[in-house]
Structures are given as structure tokens and as C-alpha cells.
Symmetry: none
Subunit: 227 residues, 2 copies
DNA sequence: AAATTTCTTGACAGTTTCTTAACAATGTAG
DNA sequence: CTACATTGTTAAGAAACTGTCAAGAAATTT
């Protein structure tokens, strides 16, 4: 029930402190020791909030934020030992949602995390998203909570990636999702333009769920969408 | 066009500094010298953002935030000279969206204001998501979000370029778009003056959507427009 | 460690879309 | 009305894209 928070911090002591603090407050915590592993972990772990020490003066942290913002709105709280004004401005303009100077007090970080969650909740409420943990139409059912899929009553077993793709399509039912968007959501942002693997996954999905109907439609040159 | 920001600060020098800073950045600023006048001014001035120095250790500022939160989600940025951890936590839990310690640097405040605006915009966008991006007239419907087109209820399949042209026309409904403009928008800026391909695409579009009506009109010698 | 499942890649065939060109139809000016 | 320019239509080859299969790599389970 509690939110999942990802902590990316190269300094071991600081990372452990943050992790312990958050866990103490009941959050689920995922940690990463460096930017590249953290970046790819975002896709698989799907955290609700990211806490990041961008480690100035190197620009890696800022670049990470910029890259992430290309495809995700996940809130980012930036920490920084080197708490200059420039750092704060640069990070927030890159897309960070908040900025805290190290050394910080635990309670303040927690308060800012609560703040973030409040914002997320507001946005979700505005979207009207919080009502439906289920997609169901034309005999195809996707239960996002149970992670189960049925077609015409039959239970269908899907692999991790197949399920990610299908649930993504169903959550945006009717909309066309571009190849690029799907690729970045499923395989992470550092994918090249090669859609081969996506094509294979779509083929497998169709083989598994389409006995007679066509659930997944192709928009040539653009992407896929669900009917 | 620029946002209206309300500054509530009992210290004259600090208030003037903040006001000047915000005005310099192009915002409209309303100021208040005390809490009660500030509170009542919120209703009349209707600012998009409130910047507040709650003046610890008195609780008036916290009370103001709590009272405001009963009926408004207007973002509040709290400043504080007395920047203890407790103060920050108390203010944010009362409903403040951000907290900055005095003395602060101007640029950081501005960055945080920009952040606030980004959040507001996100929420507004989420609210108006399902209704907004749609062209619909005389039986022709273009859903820019879902990238779908219907004519007289029927779903119409369009190719990439056909869709680009149609949505371009619909987004500029009524206006005449010149051949040159359409060509450059769809095929990029370095196109020669050969409109052959555009003519073919328009013909295909008409074949697909015009059973009886004429949606796409030709302005001889100029370009096309949608009725 | 072996077996099973899942992921990834590359090749290739089939399909869709793009582009060109020729010609027909329409509009315009003298 | 004729001649010319502009626009619409059609068809066919070229190019790009998508679906499918199979084989090996990687991950997971037994």
C-alpha cells in the first residue's frame, strides 16, 4: 500500500541513511549505487518517487533528470551537498520537483516526500484514474491488481514484457501509442530505434489472445492501439 | 498572461525584495503586510501562487495555511528566517507546498515558483484531458489524442501523411492553408514546389471520408481548407 | 547442473504506404 | 470558344514497414 521510492546516491553512508529513514516511515525502498544502473532500474522497479543526489559538479545527475523527463513525470527530489544556488536552479529547471541541501534533517525529507505524494494524488484525482484497476472489453480482461489476463473466459499466461505492453495499451485504450513510447516504457529510455523486439512481442501477444477477434490494432508507421 | 503571485510578509525590507524580484521576472504581484488582510485579499485578488513568511514562533502563519486549505488548493511557498527542521515540517504538513530558508537567493525562489507553475499546469492538463483535444463538425471527428478519425460514425483508417494533413487542416479549421505551408509541415522544409504528392493525398483523403459531403475545400490557386 | 522459460536478434516474406508520372477534369483569361 | 494553367484521378513501381519464424543467449526454475 505504501509508496515505492527509489534512492540514487553514490555515497554509501548517505544512501543508507536515506534508505533507513524512508523504510522507518513505512515506504518501500529501492536503491541504486550509480546513475546508469539507477536509470535502467526505473523501468523495472517503477517507483512512485525518485530521490537523487546528482553529485555536482559533474553533470550526470542533470542529464539523468533531463533524459527521464522525456518519457516520465515521476517526481524527483534532488539532494545536494554542494548546495549552491546555481545547482538548485539548474536541477529544478531540468525537471526536478524539489531540492534539499545536505546535510538535511530526516523529518524535512519525509515532509517533502509527503508533499510529493500529495501532488501525485492530486494529479491522479484530476485524471480520474483511481477508480479502475481493471480493463474489460469484448471478452478481453486485464486485472492490473492481480496481474491476470483472460480472453473469452480463458486464463492467459503472459511473460513480463508481454504483460507490460498489454497493460500499457489497455490503460490507454483507444489511443495510439507510438513504437518509441512503448519501447521506452517497457525497455527503458536508452533503446535505439530498433522495433524488432516489439514486433515479436506483439506477435506473441496476438498468438496468445486472439483466437478469432483482433484486439491489437496496428497503425502503420506510428504504433499500436487496443480496440 | 503572467501569473499573479501574492506575497504575505510582515518584514518590510524582505517583502520589497521579494516583490521586486518577482516583478523583475514578469509576474504580477500583490502584497499584504499582515495575515488577516492577506487572508481576505486572497479571495478578491485570486492569486495563482502565495508566498508567505509565517513568522515563527507565532502560529499565525500555520493557522493561515490550515484555514486556506479548507477551501483552496492554491500553492503556498513558505519562507522562514527561523529555519528549523520543525518549522519546515510543521508548515508543509499544514499544507504548504514548498519551504525555503531565509536568507534565500533570488534565483532559487524563482526556480521554485516556476516549479509551482509547472505543477499547476500539470493538474490543469490532467483535469481537461478527456474533453479538450478534439475536432468535431458535420459528422467529421478528429481525436488528436487517440489519433483516430470518424466520419458519420464510421471509423476511418488514415495513413501517416493523410492524418498529418487532415489534422493540420482541422487544427486550422476555416483558415486556408497554402500548398506550400502544408507541404512544409508534412514533408519538411526542404521540399520543392511540386504539389503532385499533396494532390494525391488529398484525393485519397476525400475518397476515404467523403461519402456525400465535401469536407475539404479547394481554394483555387491558394491551397485547401476545411469547412 | 539440467531443464525450462523468456528474451533477443537477424533474416525474409508479405503488406502497406509513398512517390512518380501520365492523363483527365476543371477552372481561368483572353 | 479556345488555349493555358491548375487541380483531380488513377495506376504501377519503389521504398518502407510489419509479421513471422527460428536459433541462440540469458534468465529462471527444478
Amino acid at each position: 500500500m505504501k509508496e515505492k521510492i527509489m534512492v540514487i546516491d553514490l555515497d554509501r553512508r548517505s544512501r543508507l541513511f536515506t534508505e533507513k529513514l524512508l523504510k522507518g516511515a513505512g515506504y518501500e525502498v529501492v536503491t541504486a549505487k550509480d546513475f546508469s544502473s539507477g536509470y535502467s532500474l526505473i523501468t523495472t522497479a517503477q517507483p512512485q518517487i525518485i530521490i537523487l543526489d546528482p553529485l555536482f559538479p559533474k553533470k550526470e545527475g542533470v542529464n539523468l533528470i533531463r533524459a527521464l523527463r522525456e518519457w516520465s513525470d515521476c517526481p524527483i527530489i534532488a539532494l545536494s551537498l554542494n548546495g549552491t544556488e546555481r545547482a538548485a536552479v539548474e536541477l529544478m529547471d531540468a525537471g526536478a520537483d524539489d531540492f534539499i541541501r545536505k546535510p538535511f534533517f530526516g523529518e524535512e525529507l519525509l515532509a517533502r516526500v509527503r508533499n510529493c505524494i500529495k501532488h501525485i494524488t492530486l494529479i491522479e484525482a484530476a485524471k480520474g484514474m483511481d477508480t479502475e484497476p481493471l480493463y474489460s472489453k469484448d471478452g478481453l480482461t486485464v486485472d492490473y491488481n492481480g496481474r491476470t489476463v483472460t480472453a473469452d473466459g480463458e486464463n492467459i499466461h503472459l511473460t513480463k514484457n508481454e504483460y507490460k505492453i498489454l497493460s500499457l495499451l489497455c490503460r490507454n485504450s483507444g489511443k495510439v501509442l507510438t513504437y518509441d513510447f512503448i519501447m521506452k516504457s517497457v525497455w527503458g529510455p536508452q533503446t535505439d530505434g530498433n522495433t524488432g523486439i516489439l514486433r515479436v512481442n506483439i506477435a506473441n501477444l496476438r498468438k496468445k489472445l486472439e483466437k478469432n477477434r483482433n484486439y491489437i490494432l496496428t497503425e502503420n508507421g506510428i504504433g499500436y492501439r487496443i480496440k
